[in-house]
């Protein structure tokens, strides 16, 4: 599996420690009702990872703020998606 970390290591972030701007509303829905768990495939920063136990874990530190997860989770609408606080999150040097 290719390592997206190597790519994210080049990017510049200002992590809003303790205030993730994206959260999973109800992890039970991911674990029990969502078979595809496509967020783990489609997220370009690999923020969503599938635990062996069927659960999905989200760490939004590397988020690129593209909005994919919110949009493809259209059956369950289980993603609470907001902009980070002003000046936080990804800071593109080139964009």
């Amino acid at each position: 599996m290719l390592k997206v970390e190597e790519k994210l290591f080049q990017d510049r972030y200002r992590v809003d420690v303790g205030r993730p701007h994206i959260t999973i509303k109800d992890p039970e829905i991911c674990a029990h009702q969502c078979q595809s768990q496509q967020c783990a495939v489609c997220c370009p920063a690999g923020c969503y990872t599938q635990e062996g136990t069927g659960r999905v874990v989200l760490i939004a530190d590397g988020c690129l703020e593209c909005g994919t997860c919110r949009i493809i989770c259209d059956e369950h609408r289980n993603v609470e998606w907001e902009w980070p606080r002003g000046g936080f999150g990804i800071l593109f040097k080139f964009g």
Partner: protein
């Protein structure tokens, strides 16, 4: 209460990359930021202002683009900002820089008394931690470095009590103000300015001082002439980007893997073996 906070705009060193092949410094796309250590100093000054009232003035010595760093300090809540910028400063090392900043602070004091001067512990590009001590020496003020907590400030009696990080413990020190304080990192967290501060920062009419305005007439004390140290070369450390030596045994039995690992580690790092033997209970 009037605090002066010296800040510096530095390249964001976390973004500096060394080209793996040519070993040259990849400077494209390295944004300029406020030296992170200085933000702890500014936040501490702003907290004192919240408690005791008064104003906070931010000063920096640098090229015209350092204005952005000052405006960001205003957006956090600083009241005034002064950019000291002049071609004559080019090439200044920490000795020359402390001379220029000390002169600038004298000019500020001529207009408004100063109670405390703050600098960050060090810069992330220079890391020398000499500008703070240099300014204090030139102004003949007491120097309190590696301060981890400001315990008490008594403006009437012009006294301050602080906790200072020393080796193996913390000193409780009392001294006279005005004095210069450099702060330990991590003791506070920069606030998220109010909208009003953002507007004020965007509209602030920045004061830009050249050499004369900063009260510097001895030109030989600044720039290259005033700098005893000179950088003779800058180079990249030899890259350590080889992959880990993966330990394998035929049966990949944990016990054998562990034994092979220890053997390899200790042969390649004999000092480590002694270190562990000495320290283990």
């Amino acid at each position: 209460m009037h605090s002066v906070v010296c800040i510096k705009q530095v390249p964001d060193s976390a973004q500096i990359r060394v080209h793996p092949v040519t070993n040259t410094i990849m400077r494209q796309g390295v944004p300029a930021i406020i030296n992170p250590y200085d933000l702890f100093a500014l936040e501490e000054a702003l907290r004192l202002k919240d408690r005791l009232g008064g104003t906070v003035t931010v000063v920096t010595m640098g090229p015209p683009m350092a204005e952005a760093a000052l405006r960001k300090c205003l957006s956090y809540g600083a009241d005034d900002a002064i950019l000291v910028s002049d071609r004559a400063f080019a090439g200044s090392d920490t000795l020359a820089t402390s001379y220029a900043l000390a002169a600038t602070i004298r000019q500020i004091m001529a207009r408004q008394p100063v109670d405390l001067i703050f600098t960050g512990k060090q810069t992330i590009d220079g890391d020398t931690a000499q500008v703070g001590p240099g300014i204090a020496k030139r102004l003949d003020y007491q120097l309190l470095t590696y301060v981890s907590r400001i315990v008490e400030v008594d403006l009437a009696r012009k006294e301050i009590v602080v906790e200072r990080r020393a080796e193996g413990g913390v000193q409780l020190l009392k001294t006279a103000t005005p004095c210069l304080i450099t702060l330990l990192e991590g003791i506070n967290e920069m606030r998220f300015g109010d909208l009003e501060d953002l507007f004020r920062a965007a509209r602030y009419d920045l004061q830009v001082w050249n050499r004369e305005a900063a009260g510097i007439d001895e030109v030989e004390m600044i720039g290259l002439k005033g700098s005893p140290t000179v950088v003779s070369k800058v180079f990249a450390p030899r890259p350590r980007a080889q992959r880990a030596q993966i330990i394998e045994t035929q049966d990949s039995e944990p016990r054998n893997l562990a034994a092979t690992l220890l053997a390899k580690v200790f042969t390649q790092h004999p000092k480590l073996e002694k270190e562990i033997a000495k320290r283990a209970i």
